[in-house]
Amino acid sequence: MEEVEAEEQQGFSHQQRLKAAVHYTVGCLCNEVASDKEIQFSKQTVAAISELTFRQCEMFAKDLEMFARHAKRNTISTDDVKLLARRSNSLLKYITEKNEEIAQLNLERKAKKKKQAEDANQSSREPAGGE
C-alpha cells in the first residue's frame, strides 16, 4: 500500500517535472516568436500551450503504441510516426524529409563500417599472410 502510494507520488512528481520542462521550452519558443513577430505572449497563453502540448504528447504516445501493435511490432518505428503525422501536410513532408536524411546517414554509416571492416580484415590478413 505504502509502496504503491510512494510510486504514485514518484510518478506524479516525475510528471510534474516533465510538465515543467515542457513549459520552459514552450516559454523559450514563445519568446523567440514574440521577438520575431513583435507580438507579446501572456503567461496564460504560454501555460495553455504547454498544457496542450503535454496532453497531445500523451495522445501521440498512445497512438504510436497502437500503430506499432497494429503492425505486429514491438518497437515504434518511423513508419508509425509518419502515420501519426499524416494529417498535417507540412509536418508530414518535414518528417519524410528528415526520415530520408536519417536513412541516408545510416546507409553512409553502414558503408563506412563495411569499409572499415574490410580494411581491418585486409590489414589483419596481410600481416597474417605476411607472417
Binding site: 497502437m66 508509425d80 502515420l83
Partner: protein, 501 residues
C-alpha cells in the same frame, strides 16, 4: 348484507367484517345528514374491486339490499365527522362504500354511474376529515372501472361502445361536484378510451409535432391524360419498356409545380418505378438529384443523360459514396425527399423521415408522373441498363442525401436548405477522412484489404473503443443479431465456430 347469498364457503375479508359489524352493537349515533344523496342512490349492483368481486355472486333481492345499502350509506355520511369516527365506523364505511360485484345484468351498465357518484359523494362527505384509512380502500375499488364485469365471472359481454359511454357519462357527472383532488385524479384515471390514442403532442412546442402523412389519391383521369401526353412525345414502347429511364419524354410546357398529387409525366416518376422495381433505397437520393438538376438547366432531357443517370445510379449502388468531389447541387438535394414523399404507394422501401421534410421546394421541381402507376400494373421486367458516361459530381454527393435526411429527421425541427447542404459537406469530408484512414491503416499493416483490426484501430482513435470498452461490447450493444453473428465468433451445431479465427 350478511343475508346475501354467498355460495362459496371461504370467508372473505368483507364477509368477516360484515359479520363483526352485524353482531356487535353500534355505538355511534345514527344521523341522517343529507337527503339528496339518498335520492340518487339505487341498488349498488356493480362490480366491486377485483379482490372482493371474485368472491361474490349476484343476489336476487335487490330492493332490500338497496334499502339497506342506502341506510348504510346514510350512516356513512352521518359518520363523516372526524371526531365521531371510530375504527368500527371506518370499517363499516369501507364495506358499505366499496362497490359490490355482481353478475352483470343489462342494468349494470347503468350502475357504474351511480357507483362512482356514490363513492364520490361519500368521499365528499367525509372529505373534511377524510381519513387515510378510507382512501386506500376506496381507491383500489375504483381502479377497476365500474361496469367492467368481474374478471373471472363474466357471463355477459358488454358492448364496448355502450360501456364507454356510460363510463364517460359517469365520470363527467362525477366531476361536477367541486373536486377533491383525490377524486378528480381517480376519475381521470378512469377515463377510458378504446380508440387508439393520438400521438401525444406537447402543446408547448408545436414545432416538434410530427406532421401527419398526407396521402392524396391519384386521379385516374389525369393519369390517363398524362399518359396520352407522354405517348405523343415519344414512342410508346419506349415508355412502356423503358420506364426506368428518367428522361424518356420531354414535356412541352411542363410547368414546374409544387403539388404532389397531380400525376404529370416527368422524369422523376420514372425514378420511383426504378426504385420500386429494384428495391433500392439509395437510388432515391442520387436518382432524383441527378435528374432534377438537369431539368433545371434544360427542359429537354436527352437519352444519353438518361442512360448516364441510370448508370450513375448503379454506380451509386456499388460505391458507398465515400469519395466525392466538392460539388454542390443545391436544387437537387432538397427536391429529392419531396418527390420521394409524394409517392408513398410506390416506394417499397419506405423511409419515414422523408415525409417530414419541409415543404419548401425549389421552383425547378417537376411533378410526379403517371408513369410509375402505369408501370406497376404492367409489371414489365426492367431493361438492362447501359452504363453511360459517369457523372462524377452528382452521385458522390447524391448518396449523402440519405444521411442528410436522417439528420433532419433526428433534428425534429424544420431545417433550412443551406443547413442541409452544410451537413452534407461535413459528412462528405468525414467519410473521406474515414476511408482514407482505413486505407492507410490497412497499408500500415502490410495488407491490401481493410479488415476488422483496421476498424478497431480507427474506433480506438475516435475514442469509441477504450481500454474499458472493447469492440465486441459495442457490437453487442448496437448491432442486430445478423451482423453480430458475422463479427463475434459463435459456436454452432457440430462444434463449428463461425466466423473462424
Amino acid at each position: 348484507m350478511a343475508d346475501r347469498y354467498r355460495p362459496d364457503s371461504e370467508p372473505t375479508t368483507r364477509t368477516l367484517l360484515q359479520r363483526v359489524l352485524d353482531t356487535a352493537d353500534l355505538r355511534t349515533p345514527r344521523r341522517r345528514r343529507s337527503r339528496r344523496t339518498l335520492a340518487q342512490r339505487t341498488f349498488l349492483e356493480s362490480p366491486a374491486s377485483k379482490r372482493l368481486s371474485s368472491q361474490t355472486k349476484t343476489t336476487t333481492r335487490r330492493r332490500s339490499h338497496g334499502a339497506r345499502s342506502v341506510v348504510r350509506l346514510a350512516h356513512v355520511q352521518a359518520n363523516g365527522d372526524l371526531e365521531e369516527q371510530t375504527p368500527r365506523t371506518l370499517l363499516k364505511n369501507i364495506l358499505l362504500t366499496a362497490p359490490e360485484s355482481s353478475i352483470v345484468m343489462p342494468d349494470s351498465v347503468m350502475k357504474p354511474v351511480e357507483v362512482s357518484k356514490v363513492v364520490q359523494s361519500s368521499r365528499q362527505e367525509s372529505s373534511q376529515g377524510s381519513l387515510e384509512l378510507q382512501l386506500p380502500e376506496l381507491e383500489p375499488s375504483l381502479t377497476l372501472a365500474p361496469g367492467l364485469p368481474a374478471p373471472g365471472k363474466r357471463k355477459q359481454r358488454l358492448r364496448l361502445s355502450v360501456f364507454q359511454q356510460e363510463v364517460n357519462q359517469g365520470l363527467t357527472r362525477s366531476q361536477e361536484p367541486p373536486g377533491n383532488a383525490d377524486v378528480s385524479s381517480l376519475t381521470s384515471s378512469l377515463s377510458l378510451t378504446f380508440a387508439t390514442p393520438l400521438q401525444p403532442q406537447s402543446v408547448k412546442r408545436p414545432g416538434l409535432a410530427r406532421r401527419p402523412l398526407t396521402r392524396r389519391a391519384v386521379d385516374i383521369g389525369a393519369l390517363l391524360q398524362g399518359l396520352r401526353d407522354n405517348s405523343l412525345a415519344s414512342a410508346p414502347p419506349d415508355i412502356v419498356l423503358e420506364d426506368t429511364q428518367p428522361f424518356s419524354q420531354p414535356l412541352v410546357g411542363c410547368s414546374p409545380s409544387v403539388h404532389h398529387s397531380l400525376p404529370h409525366p416527368s422524369h422523376i416518376g420514372i425514378e420511383d418505378t426504378e426504385r420500386a422495381v429494384s428495391h433500392r433505397r439509395q437510388s432515391i437520393g442520387p436518382g432524383q438529384q441527378s435528374h432534377i438538376s438537369l431539368p433545371c438547366s434544360e427542359l429537354q432531357p436527352q437519352p444519353p443523360e438518361v442512360t448516364e443517370a441510370v448508370g450513375s445510379q448503379e454506380v451509386m449502388e456499388a460505391r458507398k459514396s465515400k469519395e466525392s468531389s466538392e460539388d454542390e447541387d443545391t436544387s437537387g438535394r432538397p427536391a429529392g425527399p419531396e418527390l420521394a414523399s409524394s409517392t408513398p404507394d410506390l416506394l417499397k422501401t419506405k423511409q419515414p423521415h422523408q415525409f417530414l421534410e419541409p415543404p419548401s421546394l425549389p421552383p425547378g421541381v417537376a411533378v410526379l408522373s403517371s408513369e410509375p402507376l402505369e408501370s406497376m400494373p404492367v409489371r414489365l421486367p426492367p431493361r438492362p441498363r447501359t452504363a453511360g458516361p459517369r457523372h462524377h459530381q452528382d452521385p458522390y454527393k447524391a448518396g449523402l442525401s440519405y444521411y442528410a435526411k436522417l439528420f433532419s429527421f433526428y433534428a425534429k425541427m424544420p431545417m433550412e436548405k443551406k443547413a442541409l447542404e452544410i451537413v452534407e459537406k461535413c459528412l462528405d469530408k468525414y467519410f473521406q477522412h474515414l476511408c482514407n484512414d482505413l486505407e492507410v491503416f490497412a497499408d500500415h499493416a502490410g495488407r491490401k484489404t481493410v479488415k476488422v483490426e483496421d476498424l478497431e484501430l480507427l474506433m480506438r482513435r475516435q475514442g469509441l473503443v477504450t481500454d474499458q470498452i472493447s469492440l465486441h461490447v459495442l457490437v453487442e450493444r448496437h448491432l442486430p443479431l445478423e451482423y453480430r453473428q458475422l463479427l463475434i465468433p459463435c459456436a454452432f451445431t457440430g462444434n463449428s465456430v463461425f466466423p473462424t479465427q
